[in-house]
């Protein structure tokens, strides 16, 4: 394909969204009023699709820490961690993550996407075997693809299918890498991590979990679904991002294997990307302290999630999962999903419009992500907004929830 053919292909994708009059890329936040509200098209709009789970983006502690770091360390590092971009603040945050997880290794990356890309490109070589959940994020697929490893998908959240895949590998299963996520970002369902980990270990495989959407939200101390599943002493690699619960930009990987730190010498995204800015690192560090010291944030988030789930279920909508910080309304018709998304936006409610192939299972989704910063009044206005946008029609039709 030539570059001009590729431009034609991209224009076709844009036009297909345009025909639905629902191109999400046209949404510009003209003024950010709070973690849960912004001005869009000149109108104050409730944000319920920003992954700002703990609502910390305007937290005074984070803002003070970021401003102080910028004054003391400058606006950027202007280099990678392997050159001039390792500041004391990066090292301190790595130590804090290692301590928080009680694990010997922690590494920071410049974005969440680069964290998975960096870990997988550093760990895997052509001929290695990977088995990943079919609903894995694009950065996991991309990391596997670029590494040259042979990678196989197991059916979403299906430990039996994972077992079948590992069995078929024969002796190659020993030493393979199994990958799952904690909370899946589109449907809002969670992985049966204890089961998946047990299957991986039975075959002598390594086990990696991406906690991008579950860090700070699940587990007694906020360490994610691995903590909740009781497998922190068995999982080999945990990755996460700063751009959701931690209200910043960057990512982390922790491991119970001290050797993981050796990836500094062999992970190209780590070696060749500028490190996160001092302000981003300071904000993430302050947010990590908030995860540790302010459990009320998590409690408020869960109360909001339960309230929205109950409200939308009460209207008879078909929701993609049990209550979680991601609540997705399934809409079989893409046109109806786009029309409703436009209606919601026009009424001052921003959700995510997700159409295939980004939406699994062939249906479109109107995806909400909750925040500890939402008020109950906002949640009730969101529910009322959905009811008005669907025009009181019984579409999408009832039957709620898969298993959590």
């Amino acid at each position: 394909m030539s570059i001009s053919d590729r431009f034609t292909e991209l224009a076709h994708i844009r036009d297909s969204l345009g025909s639905l009059a629902a191109d999400p890329s046209r949404v510009v936040m003209e003024k950010i009023l709070s973690p849960t509200e912004a001005v869009i098209d000149g109108k104050p709009t409730i944000l319920v699709g920003t992954n700002n789970y703990l609502g910390l983006t305007f937290d005074p502690d984070l803002i003070d820490a970021a401003c102080t770091a910028m004054h003391e360390q400058g606006t950027g590092t202007t280099g990678s961690r392997m050159a001039n971009g390792s500041f004391f603040s990066h090292a301190a945050l790595e130590e804090e993550f290692a301590k928080f997880y009680d694990m010997p290794s922690a590494m920071l990356f410049s974005t969440g996407y680069q964290t998975n890309l960096g870990l997988l490109m550093g760990l895997l070589r052509p001929g290695d075997k990977v088995v990943l959940d079919a609903h894995s994020h694009a950065c996991i697929y991309d990391g596997c693809r670029i590494s040259g490893a042979d990678f196989f998908a197991f059916k979403h959240n299906d430990a039996g299918d994972l077992r079948k895949r590992l069995r078929r590998m024969g002796p190659d299963a020993e030493g393979a890498l199994v990958i799952a996520e904690g909370l899946y970002s589109m449907l809002g369902d969670t992985a049966p991590l204890a089961e998946l980990c047990a299957v991986a270990k039975e075959y002598g495989a390594w086990f990696m979990v991406d906690e991008a959407h579950s860090f700070g939200i699940y587990g007694e101390t906020g360490r994610g679904l691995c903590e909740e599943a009781g497998i922190l002493d068995q999982v080999d690699f945990i990755t996460g991002t700063f751009s959701k619960s931690l209200a910043s930009l960057g990512g982390f990987c922790v491991s119970r294997h001290p050797e993981m730190r050796l990836l500094r010498y062999g992970s190209r995204p780590y070696i060749f990307s500028a490190s996160s800015s001092p302000a981003n690192i300071a904000a993430a560090h302050a947010a990590l302290r908030a995860v540790r010291d302010r459990p009320d944030l998590k409690e408020r988030l869960w109360a909001n999630a339960e309230r929205l789930h109950a409200g939308l279920s009460g209207l008879g909508y078909k929701l993609a999962s049990a209550p979680s910080p991601v609540i997705a309304v399934r809409v079989p018709s893409h046109e109806e999903a786009a029309r409703t998304w436009n209606e919601l936006l026009a009424s001052g409610i921003y959700v995510n419009l997700v159409v295939p192939p980004a939406a699994p299972d062939g249906e479109s989704l109107l995806r909400c992500s909750l925040s500890a910063g939402h008020s109950f009044d906002q949640i009730d206005r969101i529910v009322a907004g959905f009811e008005a946008a669907f025009g009181g029609a019984p579409q999408p039709l009832a039957h709620a929830a898969g298993a959590r």
Binding site: A134, R145, D150, A153, R168, P356, P357
Partner: protein, 88 residues
């Protein structure tokens, strides 16, 4: 599998054609040279369904990275064959 190597190509091809016949072709003809994307307009979900059927039939796992080398039905046969042979 009990198939002789010389028959394995044909066996895999027939199995694949059997799975693909429920999808209409633009030319109206389904052969080893049919382009999976251009002639059949298989979307990614349908393609995954077909692959799972083949995997279960032969009790093999097809690596997703192999799809970069697949355009026609015969290309897919060529990728599947060594995996089936290795389980014989």
């Amino acid at each position: 599998m009990s198939s002789e190597p010389k028959d394995l190509d044909r066996d895999i091809l027939e199995t694949l054609l059997g799975s693909l016949e429920r999808f209409p072709t633009k030319s109206g003809e389904l052969t080893a040279q049919t382009d999976l994307s251009a002639d059949l307009s298989l979307d990614s979900v349908s393609m995954m369904e077909i692959l799972v059927e083949i995997e279960d039939h032969y009790d093999i796992s097809l690596p997703l990275n192999m799809m970069a080398n697949v355009t026609t039905v015969q290309d897919l046969v060529d990728q599947i064959k060594p995996l089936v042979e290795s389980t014989s």
